[in-house]
Structure formats: structure tokens, C-alpha cells
Amino acid sequence: MTDLLEVKDLVKRFRERTAVDGLTFRVESGEVYGLLGPNGAGKTTAVRMVTGLLRPSSGSIRVAGVDPFVEPLAARANLGWAGQELALYEDLSAVENLRLAATLGRLPRRETRSRAAELLDLVGLADRGRDRVESFSGGMKRRLHLAMALVHRPRLLLLDEPLVGIDPQARALLLDTIRRLAADGCGVLLTTHDMDDAERLCRRLGIIDRGRLLAEGTVAELQASLGERDALRLEGSFQAEAPPPLPEGVEVLACRDDELVVATLHGDEALPAVLAAAESAGVRVRRAALERPTLETLFLKLTGRELRD
């Protein structure tokens, strides 16, 4: 896999306010990289700088090896951006919106018609191409919005909150589309504050707050790096005052007459030993459950519970 996006020590200051503060990350081809952060964390500012529209105060960006501030058109030819706002012309049809994107994306004119049909098919709008966008539902608009970013076959896709305000069916279709694009070798930078979407889609994640990258890695790597432990919940005939002796590295969190809750770093590996220890102590375990810390838990631990605007 090759790096489609390299961001290094990126800083953006707006007068006294620092929106992005030393951000470093990379996105490889075939990878969905999630940039997670609360509102105002600096995600959208970072993406705008990647498009080459907003000049950073310092730091460097390479899109497919091209500096977007030295060769902006070459860099933009390699990236497709679908921002948070549905930037569609509602008084035009879906096909006309795609034609506009094809013109702006410098797609050869002879390919425009077939590419539009291909994309409408991809996002499930093949039968609505001639309809004006103003007659579309929110989900349909969001799908067309994504299709417009793809029209010139970009290698890197920047998706800023792409799943906001859509129903489960549209969400499933869009998630599936993004996975397929990544499987075809497209690199995807996804900014979101939705933990479920991020967990479902992203191979790697970067958690950002106040313009700084707080943690980065796979979900498992993030759990490990933060020391978050799994919880094992066992139901059976325990004695509240005398929990059974447990293997090393397993800590009792709670013990009641019918339930024992323990914490350990790798719950799936420790489970057989914990069950054996309970059995040795004469406890009949009716049910066992492994509870892993969620991304949300990690996110809140890193970014805090303070409300953001």
C-alpha cells in the first residue's frame, strides 16, 4: 500500500485561535482512515487544508506525492471532497449536477454520460437521474453528494461527516459504497464524531481535539495504548463474601450471590482460565459475557465530557 495522503506537523492559526496544532497522519491506498473529534476539534479545517483551499500556517501536505499549494490543480485531480453541507444545485437534475462535477473535474466530455450513469447506479439513483434534486429525500441527496465527489475518479476521497441525517437504509448503502471504494484501492479520509460509523468503517483512527492528535491506531491498539481493560461478566451461584481465586492479572470488580464481574487486559484470552477457576471453586456458571470498552468510552476518556459548541 502507498501513502495517498501525508500530513505532517500541520498548524493553522486564525489570529489568536489555533484551529489545528501540529497534526500528523497519513492515509494509505485501500484504507479508510477515520479522524474522530468533537465539534470544533479542527477536523474540517484540516480537510480544507488538504484540498489546497486553505493555506496552513506551517507544516506540509502531500496528496499522492503532490503539494496542493505548489500544484493545486494536480493535487485536486487526485482528490474528491464531499463536505458536510449538501452542495447540490436543487434546480438541476441529478445528471446535470454530475455533468457540472464532470466539467469541474475535467472529465473528457465523451465520458460524461457513461460516468454519470455508472455513478447513479453505484449510489442507487439510476432511475432518478432526470429528476430535479429538489424532489429528492435527504438520503438521496447525500448519495448524490457522494457521487459528485467520485465523478473524476479521485484516488483519495475526503468525506466530512458523510452519514449525517440519513435513514438506516441509506446509511447501509453509503457504508457499503465506501467499503467498495476502499476495496478498489481508493484511500478514504473520513471525519466524523459518530463512533459506530467509525468503528464499522475505519481500519485506523485518529482522535483529534483542540487541533491536536490525541491518539492513533486500530481500535485494539487504542484500547491497549490507553490501558483500557475488558470486563468478564459471569452469572452463577457465587458467594458475595468469598469470590473464587482467580488467575493472575484478573481483578474482581464486583461479586454478588448470582454474579461476578472481573476486569482483565485481554478478556477473550483470560475467559477459559476464569471459567476453570470458578468451576474449581464449585461454582456452576450459567452464562458468561465478554464486554469490551467501546470506542465511545475511549473517545470520552481522551476528549473529556465537557460540552463543545
Binding site: 480544507r48 485536486r76 471532497w81 452542495a87 466539467t103 469541474l104 475535467r106 466530455r109
Partner: protein
């Protein structure tokens, strides 16, 4: 710039996809032309005339000649002259029933022929501005003509003291003979013919003289006004695009933002041209507007549309929100319409305003159209066109830069 034609096509497609808005933009100038046609057209009452009351204290041959000149059929379209008794004339003026009162002094004829200074007194109706001005201008032209005529008469007759004493029969016969000889002379006839005394009648068309003169009075201003309103209204689209994120998204594609903005500006100019052309054709068809230099009119329309669109986009670029942009463009456009002579000739404005009018794009556009209409002063048209093109060349790129900056930082 390869994307520009397609961007222009899609921009126009968007605007034309809303028939109601399109109809409104076309209907406004057509409605104006229709109303004006109803007022000034074949069935209308025509241009309001200045009612001039004349009190003749002299009742001489010379005062009769002046009255005849004022009542000449060629001035009928401008003046309605009525001989009145002094008291009745003053009462009519007090009640505002006349635009002006002209008093011919008792010694008018004698002073004129004795080569003494002659003073005519014109009382203007203070409640009116344009019509008394017309009367005053006409009278000034006639006075100039009368002065020239007196010089010729005196030279021909050769006796300045002719009427100092009662003339003999032989003198009267000789004078009559000299006058007839004089009137037969073509050079003298030119002086007596009001055609040479009236600037507005320098190029009198055969039949539609009065209609053409009327439409020529307001057509240039109305055409520029239509361009102003269109530029003001349609330029809001750019701010709407910016607010909806469409501009910044367009800029994220591998097409230079300046080309994107050029496509939008070109569409606005095309719409302005369409609107201006509809109005011009309506003036031609309904009111008999016959510009002497139609190519210059067309060139002025293009340059004026570009300049006014540039100005509107610049104002939009300088304001942060759509309501602020609407307020700024509306205020500035109405002001420039007034200063540029869209609503009334700039000659009627106070001196300071006239000075400003010479340096605003609406003034250049209206003046260029008036010159193209008259078909003279190609140099005057050329420099005004150049000024409009220069104005557009400065404002359009500047507006594009402002809009790009706003879009990416908002």
C-alpha cells in the same frame, strides 16, 4: 478555460429552468415599455408641453414676429403659447396654471431696430422645473436668432434710425422691397427657419419625429436601469452558492476558481444582455426608437452589463451575508442609477452631483447610449466604452478573489 462554455451553459440552464423568475425579468422592462408606449405612443397624450403665457406690451411688428416664432408649428411639441392680458396672466401664474410668463416690454420693437439692448422678462413657475427650463431654452435660442436677424436687417436696410420719425410712403415701399429681397435669400431663410434654431430638431425624422424624440429622452436611462436591477438581483445567486457550500465545493475540483467565477459572471452578463436587448427591442417596436448607431448601442450594452455585474459581484464579495449583500447592492445601484442619469438627465442635477455623474459607470453607459442614439461623437462613445470595459476588467477579477477567499475561510 476549456470548462468555461460548459459552466456558462449549466449556469444559464439553471437560471432558465425557473420560468417564473425569467418571466419576471423580461416582464419588468416590457411593462415599463408598455406603460411608456401607452403614455407617449400613437394613442397617448404625448410629451407634456410647457404652457407659456405672453403679455405683449409692445404690439409691434417685432413683438408679433417673436410671437409667431414661438407659435411655430415646429415648436408645438414643446410649447403651448397663449397671448394673455397682464392681469389674467398673473392670476394664471399665481394658480400654477402655466409653466412660464413672458413679458414683452413696450419698447421692444423700437429698441430692437434701434440696436439698443432689449430685455425680455420670463417668470418661471417655481412649482415646475423641467417645463419652464424648456421654455427658457427655446426663448434663448430665439433671442440668439433674433439678434442675428437684426444684424442682417440693419445691414441690408442700412439705416439704423429708420423708425426714429414716421416713415414716408417711399421709405415704407423701399423697406418692404428690401425685406422681401432679404426673405428670398436662402442664407437669410436659414436664420428664420426654426429648424436651425432648435437643437432637438437637427435630425428630424419624416413622420415619427415627436415619438422618437420622446423615447430618445428616456430609453438610454431605462436600458441601463434594467441592467442595474438585473445585476443586483441575479448576483445574489453567488452569495447563495457560497452560503450553501456550493462555491467552495466547486473550488475543490481541478478547475481554477477564477474559471468557476468567470462562468458565473458570464452567465450574469448574458442575462443582463438578454434583459437589455428585450427592452431595447420593445422601445424600437413600440415607441419607434431608432438609434443612429445600433452597433455602438450593442457594444455599450455588452460593456455596461459586464461593468455593472462586476460592481454587483464586488459588493457581494465585500459583504458577509446575503441580506447585507442585498442591502448594499440595492442601495448602491439605486444611487448610481440616479447619479448616472437613468431616472432623469444629469443636466438637471445639482453641480456636485453632475461632477460625480461623470465618473460612475452608469453615467458612462447612459451617455454612451445617448451618443450612439444620436449617431455622433464616436470618440465620446469610444472613451466611455473603454472606461466601462476597464471598470469590468478591474471589478470582475477582484470580486472573484474576494469570493474565493470568503468561501474557503467561512
Amino acid at each position: 478555460m476549456g470548462a468555461l462554455p460548459e459552466l456558462l451553459r449549466l449556469e444559464l440552464r439553471r437560471r432558465l429552468s425557473d420560468p417564473l423568475t425569467l418571466l419576471t425579468w423580461v416582464a419588468i422592462p416590457l411593462l415599463m415599455a408598455g406603460l411608456l408606449s401607452a403614455v407617449f405612443g400613437p394613442k397617448g397624450t404625448g410629451l407634456p408641453r410647457a404652457r407659456v403665457l405672453v403679455v405683449d406690451h409692445d404690439r409691434s411688428f417685432a413683438s408679433q414676429a417673436l410671437l409667431s416664432a414661438l407659435s411655430n408649428p415646429r415648436l408645438e411639441g414643446l410649447l403651448e403659447v397663449e397671448l394673455a392680458e397682464p392681469e389674467a396672466a398673473r392670476r394664471a401664474m399665481d394658480r400654477g396654471r402655466a409653466s412660464a410668463l413672458l413679458e414683452i416690454p413696450a419698447s421692444f420693437g423700437a429698441d430692437l431696430l434701434a440696436n439698443r439692448p432689449v430685455r425680455l422678462q420670463l417668470h418661471r413657475n417655481p412649482a415646475e422645473s423641467i417645463l419652464p427650463q424648456i421654455a427658457e431654452e427655446v426663448l434663448a435660442v430665439l433671442a440668439d436668432g433674433g439678434t442675428a436677424l437684426r444684424a442682417v436687417l440693419v445691414a441690408m436696410v442700412g439705416d439704423q434710425r429708420l423708425f426714429a420719425e414716421p416713415p414716408s410712403l417711399a421709405q415704407v415701399t423701399g423697406l418692404a422691397s428690401s425685406v422681401y429681397t432679404l426673405l428670398d435669400d436662402p442664407s437669410t431663410r436659414r436664420l428664420l427657419d426654426p429648424e436651425t434654431l432648435s437643437v432637438t430638431h437637427r435630425h428630424p425624422p419624416a413622420k415619427a419625429a415627436s415619438r422618437s424624440a420622446v423615447v430618445g429622452w428616456f430609453a438610454p436611462g431605462f436600458v441601463v436601469m434594467a441592467l442595474l436591477f438585473l445585476a443586483q438581483g441575479q448576483s445574489s445567486d453567488v452569495q447563495e452558492d457560497a452560503a450553501a457550500g456550493r462555491l467552495v465545493r466547486a473550488f475543490s475540483f481541478p478547475t481554477p476558481p477564477t474559471v468557476v467565477m468567470a462562468g458565473k459572471a458570464a452567465a450574469l452578463v448574458a442575462m443582463g444582455l438578454f434583459d437589455g436587448a428585450v427592452l431595447a427591442v420593445a422601445f424600437v417596436a413600440a415607441l419607434g426608437w431608432r438609434p443612429a448607431a445600433p452597433v455602438a448601442v450593442a457594444a455599450t450594452l455588452v460593456a455596461a452589463a459586464a461593468a455593472l455585474v462586476g460592481l454587483a459581484l464586488l459588493l457581494r464579495g465585500l459583504t458577509r451575508s446575503l441580506p447585507a449583500g442585498n442591502a448594499a447592492t440595492a442601495g448602491v445601484m439605486v444611487g448610481l442609477g440616479f447619479l448616472g442619469g437613468c431616472f432623469m438627465p444629469t443636466q438637471l442635477l445639482p453641480g456636485a452631483f453632475q461632477a460625480v455623474a461623470r465618473v460612475v459607470p452608469t453615467g458612462w453607459a447612459v451617455d454612451a447610449l445617448r451618443l450612439a442614439q444620436a449617431g455622433d461623437d464616436p470618440g465620446g462613445i469610444a472613451w466611455r466604452l473603454a472606461a466601462l470595459v476597464l471598470f469590468a476588467a478591474v471589478t470582475l477579477p477582484l470580486a472573484a478573489r474576494l469570493e474565493v477567499r470568503k468561501a474557503v475561510t467561512s
